[in-house]
């Protein structure tokens, strides 16, 4: 048990308390009237019981409870202490000690005997070990939405006593849509006002599905001296006519006709002399008022969102990005300062800028699930249209993307899904013939990886027909008839204009949804498309999209004189490059990481660093999916909050880096595109040069 283990501390504390108790009891044997000693004994028992219950020593707490009661009675003068009781208390003390130190050997029969004796002396039956005065929580009732009218006025001294009404209002807001009106009518003129007094009350209308007890809980500490009323405003009982029509028992017209014959309730009552007309008027006025309130609440709810031009958000994001960079600079400058007011201010600024960053990043991003959910319907409709049976599975719905990106992804995704269902997935009969399950599967998934999002559309259809694609490519003059083309490059051909079979691209302006438009759309978002196919088993199309606005956690590394950032989410670990691994090698090099062979590349070579090596090199193992690669670097500097700056259009062909960032000292660090690196096993530009 470590020193920080509370039960260990309790044991120590209990041991001390038992000693104190023993001394007090022994003193009481000779001077039973000594109030201080009685107090000390009581307090020791009280603490042992209280702390015992806190730290899991239930038996101790239960047993000690009775003695505590006994001494409480003595303390209050309800019972005069005598030597019998003291003797029993000493015996009880031993029992407590056993319970704490050797619970296995404690006998509850012994304990009960002692308690019985104590009870006998006191002339009272031993009360239950824990009288359950805590009320049983009421069974949770209704869970349907209701509107509540909550009114509360706090006591005048409640602010002084530490109550914060704003926190109460926040708690109410957590329960649901809440409209609050502050009642300031009782605030006196400034000259006579006591600034520490509370003159205000609050009226709130709350729409919630939580039970009334939860609303009452908010006021639990102020209930005693505040005026609080919580009432339900509106009961949404469905009406008989509606039910009948809904079940098809009665046509709507009949209900309407019947209603017309019914007199209004108010009219009936007035006619029958049951109530005066003006009272009806007043009640109707309240009805109108409440309905208006509800209407207000609803209108308010709608008014709670604002349209903002996207450019304003863009510029806000840019400014936040700059702020984060400047803040990093500030942090760097004050880091050497030791404790000082500037340093704590710098920390405060860091906290604020983090908060601002998180909030603004959350403004424009939307979970891709909003897009995916539309596809269930689409797949169903196309299934019926084509006479196929396809099941759509989605994952990664919570992956967040910029709203504009998601909007622009809709059309390309629709086209890819359509293609997949049209050409990829076979008819149920064909599938059975091919030995597959009748139902085809389409899997839409989205996942973050560092500064990128990968959206995958995978089907278990017949896959791409290499030969047909090749033939068409030759036909379209894209490749020479005898050219040797790798699978990957061949599959990419489907994005060339002229391949689309579904709808045509009409003109250079590109209206229409061919696969080439798909690729262009993705590329205009500075992403890329990858195709993989397994003849007979299916096709997988992956969209790589850079996060346009992102501040990610990165790992700052140094190669030669240059700094680079690797997205931390892709980093698995950093290991030392041992001399054994560091054999000069022109082919692929591999590291043995716990039995796995991981290929690695030396960034010094890649970047042709001439600066001499002085430190031990480190290898940063990065992974995307199940592909891993090691990157050998000169130095791993550490975690760095990376504000991603996209590379300009000039660098659109550069695939090794997904962006850049500005470091605290103003220099630029390029962000390595781990997707590209793990894909090819080397930085793409090197590949191009090699071929």
């Amino acid at each position: 048990m470590t020193a920080a283990d509370p039960s260990a501390i309790f044991r120590e504390e209990a041991a001390e308390l038992l000693i104190t108790l023993e001394e007090a009891l022994l003193g009481l044997e000779s001077t039973p009237g000594d109030k201080d000693l009685v107090d000390t004994a009581f307090r020791a028992l009280h603490t042992i019981k209280g702390s015992g219950a806190m730290f899991g020593f239930e038996a101790v707490a239960g047993f000690t409870h009775h003695l505590e009661n006994a001494f409480d009675m003595v303390r209050k003068g309800e019972f005069a202490l005598n030597s019998d009781l003291v003797g029993m208390a000493l015996g009880a003390l031993d029992h407590i000690q056993t319970l704490i130190e050797h619970p296995e050997s404690a006998s509850s029969a012994d304990g009960d005997a002692i308690l019985a004796k104590v009870a006998a002396v006191l002339g009272k039956p031993a009360t239950a070990a824990r009288s359950d005065t805590r009320p049983v929580a009421p069974v949770q009732e209704q869970s349907d939405k209701a509107i509540w009218r909550i009114r509360f006025r706090l006591a005048g001294n409640s602010l002084v006593m530490g109550t914060n009404p704003l926190l109460l209002l926040d708690e109410l807001r957590e329960l649901g849509e809440c409209t609050v009106v502050a009642l300031t009518g009782d605030i006196p003129a400034l000259e006579v006002m006591d600034p520490t007094a509370c003159y205000m009350g609050w009226d709130a209308v709350l729409t919630t599905d939580r039970p009334k007890s939860k609303i009452e809980d908010v006021f639990i500490f102020v209930m005693d001296d505040a005026q609080i009323s919580i009432e339900r405003i509106l009961d949404e009982d469905p009406r008989l006519g509606e039910i009948l029509v809904g079940r098809g028992d009665v046509p709507a017209t009949a209900v309407i006709a019947a209603n017309e014959q019914i007199q209004r309730l108010g009219a009936i009552l007035v006619k029958g002399g049951v109530v005066a007309e003006d009272k009806i008027k007043a009640a109707l006025a309240e009805q109108k008022h409440v309905k208006a309130e509800i209407g207000k609440v609803q209108a308010q709810a709608q008014a709670n969102s604002i349209r903002v031009p996207a450019e304003r958000l863009d510029s806000l994001m840019d400014q936040v990005g700059e702020l984060v960079i400047a803040q990093a600079r500030l942090k760097q400058l004050v880091s050497g300062m030791g404790d000082s007011p500037i340093k704590s201010l710098a920390e405060e600024i860091e906290r604020l800028s983090n908060g601002l960053r998180d909030t603004t990043m959350g403004i424009r991003t939307v979970p891709i699930g909003t897009l995916f959910s539309r596809f269930k319907r689409l797949v169903r409709d196309i299934s019926q249209e084509l006479g196929k049976d396809v099941d759509l599975v989605t994952s990664g719905e919570e992956t967040e993307l910029d709203k504009t990106v998601i909007e622009r992804l809709n059309d390309p995704l629709v086209h890819i899904v359509r293609n997949s269902m049209d050409h990829g997935i076979e008819t149920p009969d064909d599938r059975v013939k091919a030995g597959k399950v009748r139902q085809g599967h389409l899997h839409l998934s989205a996942v973050h990886s560092g500064a990128q999002v990968y959206i995958r559309i995978r089907d278990d259809g017949r896959g791409l027909d290499r030969d047909r694609i090749r033939a068409k490519a030759v036909e379209n003059g894209l490749i020479a008839a005898d050219a040797k083309v790798g699978d990957q490059d061949l599959y990419q051909m489907i994005f060339a204009p002229g391949f689309s079979t579904a709808k045509e691209v009409t003109s250079l302006s590109g209206r229409g949804v061919g696969m080439d438009v798909v690729r262009r759309t993705i590329e205009s978002l500075r992403g890329s498309v990858e195709v993989d196919s397994f003849p007979g088993h299916g096709t997988e199309i992956t969209l790589h999209l850079p996060l346009t606005l992102a501040i990610i956690d990165g790992l700052l590394i140094r190669v030669g004189l240059g700094h680079y950032v690797i997205p931390l989410s892709a980093v698995e670990e950093c290991v030392e490059l041992t001399a054994a691994d560091d054999q000069p090698n022109s082919g692929r090099s591999f590291l043995n990481i716990r039995g796995d062979l991981v290929p690695f590349i030396r960034l010094r070579e890649t970047f042709q660093t001439a600066v001499p090596l002085e430190l031990y090199q480190k290898v940063v193992i990065v992974a995307v999916g199940d592909r891993r690669i090691g990157l050998v670097v000169d130095q791993v500097i550490g975690e760095h909050q990376t504000v991603i700056k996209s590379l300009s259009k000039l660098h659109a062909d550069v695939h090794s880096f997904s962006g850049a960032t500005i470091l605290g000292d103003g220099s630029v660090a390029l962000i390595i595109d781990v997707g590209a690196v793990t894909q090819t096993g080397r930085l793409p530009e090197i590949d191009k040069e090699a071929s």
Binding site: A4, I9, E12, E13, T47, M161, N164, L167, D224
Partner: protein
Amino acid sequence: MAKTVLSVDDSASMRQMIKLTLSGAGYEVIEAVDGRDGLAKAKTAPVNMVLTDLNMPNMDGLALIKELRALPTFKGVPIIFLTTESDESKKAEAKASGATAWIVKPFQQDQLLSVVRKVIG
């Protein structure tokens, strides 16, 4: 800035538990071992909230609450006291003396945190 809680309890194990729970949730915790110690600490450094047991030697919780409320710096500072279920009369007395809220012993860590959050956010 982290909120500061002054934790006053003569039981070392209680203080331990409270400190672990609250500092784990981001609060700064200053400890005192009894009412007198608590009052002294409250006078030397600003605190956002006081959490005190009632039963302590050298000035019990009730007296501490009264003394704290008498300090000009303590207007509006929430004071939470620890009470056992059977202490109904003590509860009323403590509130009358100026306490803001209470926690019933024994309590779990999450119960402690939820009351503290309710009171100072």
